[in-house]
Symmetry: C2
Subunit: 384 residues, 2 copies
């Protein structure tokens, strides 16, 4: 066991109906909220519900809902200006990972001057942020659990995370009742991402005993309960477990990071606006086949945690069996896209590989086996 540090200052509120507490929670941190809401929060009635709870608590608010699948840094800066103009003193993020990351970026840029990219690339550190309350409406990114927010720079197509303790949310309200109308594709993609976060943090070279505990619990819960909510979106008991898994995996990546698949996918998000989880899913089997020989003990535990009876298997057989069980899991929620289907072509490879090797170095280095440019090309090629 290497030495390690752990802290996570987020106050988590888990459970059906917890959204009701929003007014009281928001009142602890401010008087006027910037409400950063996803597109879907309107038709589902969730935005109206949030407004109702804020009204009841006497918290005023301004709404900002300009963003997209991969949040643009330009809109973060615009939102921060809006927050300042409106004199907001607390930020509420309502939506999936994009809305929550946008909320984090705005809360950060409302306090810190200049371009967010100076902070993303570590040229500046920042002095504070508006307090944030995050409310996930997908399960998901786990953004509510950690100090990361990922943005796309429309000038360079870089897609990269701001990782800064100043953007830990003060509170996260994880209410499974918000999941009961999700379309299948938005169950499957974010749900698969929970597995990706949990698995990649577990095998990361930065993993520690605490993060491994979080990762394995998330793997256990998501592999067991995602198929249930995919089959029946109204299964609230299963949603409780899936949403918990999402937050646990979000905590785990906060400790240990992600690894190869995230490194290979981010450039696609930046260049081609590929949906995060779909881009990763397209590469998962080749990633696992490439990586497990470098960490067979860990992949054997993953297989066992996902329900493979590994007793009596050799270590190698057990480790290799993790590939099949993950493939079955992804196939079960119809998450087996090819890169071609997602718009990635061979002509993009040079740009993508160069971007991986410059922008995603740290994430790449987390993988137990680190590919060079030729190997990355081979992996992309296999996934077309």
């Amino acid at each position: 066991m290497a030495s390690f540090d752990f802290s996570n200052p987020v106050k988590f509120y888990f459970g059906a109906g917890k959204l009701k507490l929003l007014g009281g929670i928001a009142g602890q941190y401010g008087h006027k909220a910037l409400l950063v809401a996803s597109d879907s929060a309107k038709p589902t009635g969730q935005l109206a519900l949030v407004q109702q709870y804020l009204d009841a608590a006497g918290i005023s608010y301004a709404v900002y809902d300009k963003f997209m699948q991969n949040p643009l840094s330009t809109l973060v800066h615009e939102g921060a200006q809006f927050a300042r103009t409106e004199n907001c003193d607390v930020v509420i993020g309502l939506g999936g990972g994009s809305a929550m990351d946008m909320a984090k970026g705005i809360a950060f840029c409302a306090v810190n001057e200049g371009s967010i990219w100076d902070y993303v690339f570590g040229r500046k550190t920042g002095t504070g942020a508006l307090p944030m309350i995050l409310i996930p409406t997908t399960a998901g990114t786990g953004s509510e659990s950690n100090r990361t927010a990922v943005f796309t720079n429309p000038d360079t197509n870089d897609k990269k995370g701001l990782v800064n303790p100043l953007i830990y949310p003060k509170a996260a309200i994880i209410d499974p009742e918000l999941m009961l109308t999700l379309p299948k594709r938005v169950i499957a993609g974010p749900g698969a991402d929970v597995l990706f976060h949990a698995l990649e943090s577990y095998i990361s070279k930065n993993a520690n005993p605490f993060s491994e505990m979080l990762s394995l619990k998330a793997i256990e819960l998501i592999s067991r309960y995602l198929p249930r909510v995919y089959a029946d979106v109204t299964d609230i008991d299963a949603w409780e477990q899936v949403t918990l898994a999402s937050s646990l995996a979000g905590m785990a990546i906060d400790c240990a990071g992600t690894s190869l698949p995230h490194a290979l996918q981010h450039p696609m998000g930046g260049l081609l606006n590929v949906v995060h989880a779909e881009g990763i899913a397209a590469m998962y089997v080749p990633f696992m086949e490439y990586t497990w020989p470098a960490a067979p003990e860990k992949f054997a535990v993953i297989a066992k945690t996902m329900g493979v009876d590994t007793q009596g298997m050799s270590l190698e057989t057990a480790a290799a069996s993790s590939v099949a069980v993950v493939r079955d899991f992804l196939a079960g929620v119809n998450m087996m896209p090819t890169l071609t289907e997602l718009g990635v072509k061979e002509e993009h490879f040079d740009w993508l590989i160069n971007n991986v090797l410059t922008t995603m170095k740290v994430v790449l280095a987390n993988n137990p086996r680190v590919p060079d440019a030729d190997t990355i090309r081979e992996i992309y090629q296999r996934c077309l």
Copy 2:
């Protein structure tokens, strides 16, 4: 899954040699430290080491080392006065549970007026506390992980915990190198207490999926590694796991509380100054035999986590097997005292039972099966 909240704002520094970071950490929170140190911190050289690290960082300090096995509230008040007189702005606790709880009490009372018992019994809530850094030198109480500190009132013999979010330490430095000279009795007692915290929080009616994860990880680690450090106090790899287990169990009780054994033991600590872990150990087997039929699923998981091959067993057989494996664990570290050996006599029962039913009601109610006065008497009787 019932809904639940989770937060733990402590910044944890785990690992061999982490004590070296003390100066830098303390400097984040204050300029002059009150150094609350256990008796044993002098002969082991740990106090001198801490002073050296503070000197090197330019942090001045005053030392307070007046306390005993069960920290007295009178000494907490005296220490708080001392902290004010010395103008200390940060408190460092160095020692076992008693020193850390004393540090927490002093940090709290240095800011909040009046008797600590008003806060223990919830008549007042408090407004703040001096920032605390806790450094356990036993593994142990897990006090470094949570917002509880237990005190004894010499006027009433009440022994009861202050449970208040204001006394979460800012930082906890968990350095296994501090354990390498512990005498066997101080390995066994606190080590057994880790199991007690983990097991009781796991079966507690207040347990939630997050706390259960922490509890089970602690059970797994302590049952596997305590025998190793008991056999060889210099086994640093095993100490890493034991100290981690201690902090995990401390987090788990912060979520879920303890249960029947702690309820039955606290009055003995208050009245007869019985060593915490020894008093609990004396009652553990009867407690488990009494309790498992009310939660057989949980006790079966405990047995499995402690290494029993429960496959093929009936639920009842698996659950009952947890009693034997815990008894073996305690016997293995020579922690099988009787209450008689600890100075408890039948003549004390009336006072003890009355104290359990008045002072320890909340902890008692956490148990899956809640005994009345007659049943408590029977349990005490069996343990003489």
